[in-house]
């Protein structure tokens, strides 16, 4: 599903952020990406979402070499990903429904299809009935669940989450992680960047550990 092959990423101002990173995630696999702040977790995720491109090596998503992807193909590659952020990145002037519907609207789905899928997705994260609310009227945990509903509404094969529980208390964090496990069970590949080590240990999934840009455990 996702393959990193001797990947290096260097920023002119910060030097090497990722050095010779190689790993392979199989379809339906659940993995955590850990490491200290600045170890390169976010950069690694950015390479997958094509927010950055690597300097050396190859990143393969579903067999497609992302290095060779043209700029105009980026939107279509991103539609295969469900992205989840620490700060949720919701549109605060739109309702929960509109937020979750955004990927479907962008992909050009019809009205009924959108309505049905958004409801299903909100049901999955336990927010059915809150479609008409605005994100800022919801709690942090609920906002993150809106973010997750948006990420999965398009049924992407790979979910990437960058510190999804960074702003949440342990109990809510565990709930969110449980949701990710549910998605894994239906065949979605999950990669979660986090530094919540106790939670990672408790869940017992594969761990990719970065240290100063090098993969020290996989």
């Amino acid at each position: 599903m996702l393959k990193f092959d001797h990947v290096c990423k260097r920023y002119p101002e910060a030097g090497d952020v990722l050095t010779d990173v190689t790993f392979h995630l199989k379809p339906g696999e659940f993995a955590f990406l850990t490491g200290h702040s600045g170890a390169g977790k976010s950069t690694l995720l950015k390479l997958i979402a094509l927010m950055e491109r690597c300097n050396r090596g190859n990143v393969l998503l579903d067999g497609q070499n992302l290095n060779k992807a043209k700029n105009r193909h980026i939107p279509y590659i991103r539609r295969k990903l469900g992205l989840i952020f620490q700060d949720f990145k919701l549109l605060n002037d739109r309702t929960v429904f509109d937020n979750v519907a955004l990927p479907l609207v962008i992909a050009g789905h019809g009205h009924q299809e959108i309505s049905r899928r958004v409801r299903a997705s909100l049901d999955k994260v336990g927010l059915l009935g809150k479609e008409k609310k605005y994100p800022l009227t919801l709690s942090g945990g609920e906002q993150q669940r809106v973010g997750i509903a948006r990420a999965v509404v398009n049924k992407p094969p790979l979910i990437l989450a960058d510190e999804p529980t960074g702003n949440l208390d342990p109990e809510l964090s565990a709930e969110i992680m449980k949701l990710f496990e549910d998605f894994q069970q239906v065949g979605v590949t999950i990669l979660i960047a986090t530094h919540d080590i106790p939670l990672v240990k408790k869940m017992g999934h594969r761990v990719l550990k970065l240290d100063h840009g090098r993969l020290v455990a996989s």
Binding site: R79, V105, I106, G108, G110, H111, K124, V188
Partner: protein, 329 residues
């Protein structure tokens, strides 16, 4: 139950035929357009102050071009009517009687290159002079009528060349009854060349104002893009193409252009209405030669079309450049 979530949706999609699926997509595409079309208008309405400011500036620029264009068109009409009445004044010698004059007018009318003639006898000339010149008292002080009889000659073809007219003038001046023939259109020619210059001026001015409108829209869209930066970035992250993101902004440009065009038209029309009465009065003094011209239907449509096009192009120019730079970090 949970496994169903990912599977549920696939079934009905597969059931659908290719055509109905295509119909759905088309429907969705039109929906997106309709949404962008109305939501961009809604945004303008919800920020009335800045919208009105922008539209005011744009419409004044457009109205200046359109107004100048209309001004030239009106003056042009004036010279056109002079060109139409390309007539000559044939002044008769003092000793020629009214009957002889009438007879000559009759004879001239039978010439191939003369359409019509009209005799103004000496007494008629005197009456007209008294009426219009304001020197009636001065005329009365003279013991005899100093004015000659005149035959006004209208050449048959309006498109007669200057040379042909000159030739006709020469022929007429050779007649024994004729004192002199005046073909005094020199000032019309001067006015025409001035108008040609003014027309060039209109083109230049319109180009400059057009570029101005382009920049005003561009700048408005740039600010709008800046205000909605977060939204654009999120849309990019969930897989929106630049085309999808551009659409509402292009429609904003469309609305700004169209609304400015309409406002400019209203401004120009109101200006002409203010001028209507004095111009009509002036025109009356010149035998109703002159009518106030308003923008015609086609010209109004062209005005709307061009201003809309400028709005969309201004937005497009900014989007092409700015969207490439606006990337998620």
């Amino acid at each position: 139950m949970r496994k169903e979530y990912y599977r549920k949706a696939k079934v009905p999609v597969r059931k659908k035929g290719f055509v109905s699926n295509l119909g759905d997509k088309l429907h969705a595409y039109l929906d997106i357009h309709a949404h962008a079309f109305f939501s961009s208008l809604g945004r303008l309405v919800r920020a009335p102050f800045s919208s009105i400011m922008t539209i005011a500036v744009m419409s004044i620029a457009i109205a200046l071009s359109a107004g100048f264009y209309l001004f030239v068109a009106n003056i042009q009409q004036l010279t056109d009517s002079f060109e139409d009445s390309n007539h000559m004044s044939v002044f008769l010698k003092e000793q020629v009687s009214d009957q002889a004059g009438a007879k000559l007018a009759e004879t001239l009318r039978s010439y191939g290159n003369i359409k019509d003639t009209k005799l103004i006898s000496r007494s008629q000339a005197l009456t007209e002079f008294r009426e219009y010149s304001g020197f009636g008292a001065a005329i009365d002080a003279l013991d005899k009528n100093p004015l000659p009889a005149v035959i006004q000659v209208m050449p048959s073809s309006e498109s007669m060349t200057q040379q042909q007219l000159e030739q006709l003038r020469h022929t007429l001046s050779q007649l024994p009854e004729v004192d002199q023939v005046q073909l005094d259109l020199e000032w019309v020619k001067r006015l025409q060349s001035m108008l040609a210059l003014a027309e060039r001026g209109v083109t230049l001015l319109s180009t400059i104002f057009g570029i101005g409108v382009l920049f005003i829209t561009g700048n408005t869209i740039r600010l709008e893009l800046h205000n909605r930066r977060e939204e654009v970035i999120i849309a990019k992250l969930v897989g929106a193409t630049d085309r999808f993101i551009s659409r509402p902004f292009l429609y904003t440009g469309f609305w700004l252009g169209l609304l400015s065009g309409i406002t400019a038209w209203l401004i120009v029309t109101m200006m002409m209405m203010v001028l209507q009465t004095p111009v009509d009065e002036l025109s009356k003094l010149y035998d109703g030669l002159f009518n106030v011209l308003y923008l015609g239907f086609i010209e109004v449509m062209a005005l709307f079309g061009i201003s809309t096009l400028l709005g969309v192009s201004g937005a497009w120019l900014v989007l092409v450049y700015q969207l490439r730079q606006l990337n998620p970090e």
